[in-house]
């Protein structure tokens, strides 16, 4: 008798569980596969992307999920690419064939994004790329790949746009420009684009000087800059040489009207402490800075900092924004058909909640590149709280109450 009751109870429990699961199944879930470098050399940046995604999706789900899909909740799945292109490709295959995801996002490393987007394209699954800078990712005529962040060539483009805008705003005229850069892939790539842009914008290039990143003395390079007397000095440097150059420039009292870095060494956290006042008034281009003057940015950054202990980085912001852009597209698609999601993404013009970037809306061009994506320029200055990086450009993102020092005062 006892046995029978037990069997009956168990059957009832199993049935109840099934029913319970059944009702859960009735509610649609949007599955999003995320390929990120969660271990290996780029793990820290992969973790930033994961954290930002989780925070955004929690907010979206709490606000009622995707309403046009009956309040569907978004579920995030993760795959660790280890920065390895082969792993990225197999994980994309697994997401599509086994997990049946509706959207893929990733993969931070351009090298992983490039082949894994090709997989998604082949199967016709929408793939959102928050950050990966290589130009060619969106230049292969793909229909299902959409990139939020600026591409490589736009960094140099925006450096020149910044110079144009500053001259307009402050009325100083810049005529000559010097390019000084580390002689690796990164520096020489930038320099090739600078030369083109300088021609377009009507500058005279007075110095085009690569230097070895391992140089122990950059005085000769600084003397060359001093001799060339440029109005604008544009730099691509790693940390050790960025510090050495900045200090030596100050020692020799070389003061062009504008010095502008390209992230990297100039954005290194130890740059400010190792150069001190010598770094004052230097400009640097970045994806995002915590003080950017955009509605909601301060709050989102504060929430992120409280949860994860650090300020948001450009990578985190792009991942965060990507989730909102995706939710918006799903809302307008009203269906989980890949083509419907794809068409909705292509028609995106998002400027709603969560858009804390320096620019005002996300809109994809026919290649899938966010045509509004832009970078920000910061100026290093001390306005009473020690040296800090202050967003100055674009003007609508400038920190409230700050007037950029332009041109740099003569030393």
């Amino acid at each position: 008798m006892k046995k029978l009751t037990m069997i009956v109870t168990m059957c009832a429990m199993v049935l109840a569980m099934h029913l319970g699961l059944g009702t859960a199944h009735a509610e649609t879930v949007v599955k999003v596969g995320n390929i990120l470098p969660l271990s290996g050399p780029s793990a820290s940046v992969g973790q930033q992307g994961k954290q930002a995604r989780e925070m955004a999706i929690e907010e979206i789900n709490e606000a009622g999920g995707i309403k046009s899909l009956g309040g569907a909740k978004i579920e995030l799945l993760y795959a660790d690419s280890k920065s390895d292109p082969n792993v990225g490709v197999t994980e994309a295959e697994r997401f599509i064939n086994t997990e049946k995801v509706n959207v893929i996002t990733g993969a931070w490393n351009s090298g992983v994004t490039y082949p894994s987007t090709a997989v998604a394209e082949r199967y016709g699954v929408p793939y959102i790329v928050p950050v990966s800078v290589r130009d060619t990712i969106t230049e292969r005529g793909f229909k299902y790949v959409f990139r939020i962040a600026a591409k490589d060539s736009w960094w140099t483009r925006d450096q020149f746009a910044f110079l144009d805008d500053m001259q307009k705003e402050f009325g100083d005229e810049l005529k000559t420009v010097a390019f000084v850069y580390e002689n690796g892939d990164w520096g020489t790539g930038f320099a090739a684009q600078w030369v083109e842009l300088a021609k377009e914008h009507g500058y005279e290039v007075v110095l085009n000087e690569p230097y070895p990143s391992s140089a122990t003395d950059l005085t000769p390079v600084v003397n060359k800059i001093r001799r060339a007397r440029p109005d604008v000095l544009m730099l691509v440097s790693n940390a050790a040489d960025a510090i050495l150059l900045t200090n030596t420039l100050a020692d020799y009292k070389v003061s062009p009207k504008v010095i502008i870095g390209s992230g990297g060494g100039h954005a290194d956290p130890t740059f400010l402490s190792a150069t001190g006042d010598n770094a004052k008034y230097v400009f640097d281009i970045v994806e995002w800075e915590a003080d950017v003057n955009k509605p909601g940015a301060k709050e989102v950054n504060a929430k992120y900092k409280e949860r994860y202990g650090t300020n948001m980085t450009g990578e985190a912001v792009d991942a965060y924004v990507a989730m909102y852009v995706m939710a918006d597209a799903l809302e307008r698609a009203g269906s989980l058909e890949p083509t419907a999601i794809r068409d909705a993404l292509a028609a995106t013009e998002y400027s709603g909640e969560g858009l804390i970037t320096t620019y005002d809306s996300v809109k994809f061009d026919e290649t899938g590149q966010n045509e509004n994506a832009a970078l920000a320029v910061v100026q290093i200055n001390d306005i009473g709280n020690g040296l800090e990086r202050i967003t100055v450009w674009p003007k609508n993102a400038r920190r409230e109450g700050y007037t950029p020092v332009f041109p740099m005062p003569q030393k």
Partner: protein, 297 residues
Amino acid sequence: MDFVFLLQDVINGVLMGSIYGLVALGLTLVFGVLKVINFAHGSFIMVGMFVAYWAVALTGLHPYVALLLVVPAMFFFGYASQHWLIRPIFKAERDVREPTTVIIVTTGMWYVLDNLALLLFGPDYRALTPNPLKGQMLELGQIFISVPKLYGAVATFATCAGLYWFMQKTRTGRAIRAVSLDRDAASLMGINQWKIFNIAFGIGTAIAGIAGVVLTPFYNVYPSVGVPFDVKSFVIVVLGGLGSIPGALVGGIIVGLIESLGPMYMTATWTEAIVYGLFLMVLFFKPSGLFGQKHDW
């Protein structure tokens, strides 16, 4: 105007070059006496820089006063390294003509020291604080002379002179020279060659420490800072002649001048190629270097 810039570059080249000479001096000394290529030399400079950095950061003393601490500390560090790490290998390979295992030991020390520094201090770039020499420049009209580099060059010549005097005039110095000429004959004359090795390695390391002190006022301290100086030291030592003290100084100044004057006529990347090209040429045409002794090879 051009003459001013030429003079400026020559001055900077000589100053920086003599500091390079100081950086290479310890390496050449250790090679001259022990016939050991010390791959950890750059790391010793790094250790010297960190000792100098912390000595100044904790006590607020003038960077050059830190020499009083750095020199003995580095001497004992080198002395102990040779005694505990290199001597056993020497003894084990007594009958081997070319004891290559020693090279592997010094390479191991390089990795251990660099990674230990990374573990202890992190990858940060540290600038000396307080640094009374920071940004000090002598301005002679259009010509700028960096004061910390000037002091560095003075320290280099003082160290070279001191070392030369020590090697020529003192009993220990003569014993070191005897061991470097023929260690077996020296042993037969009653010189304890192991003790001489320890002392020579200690002096070489102490000089790396002096180089560290000289560099910190105008160069940042970080765990892998030794690597570029290590490479440069090899070039200089081969150029000047392995084991030669004046060779290190002259080799350093030659490299400094190439680096400083080269960019007037080409890009800085090319001057590096010239330095390495010269290195290969010397190896090819005069392997003993400018001041090297023929019988070393």
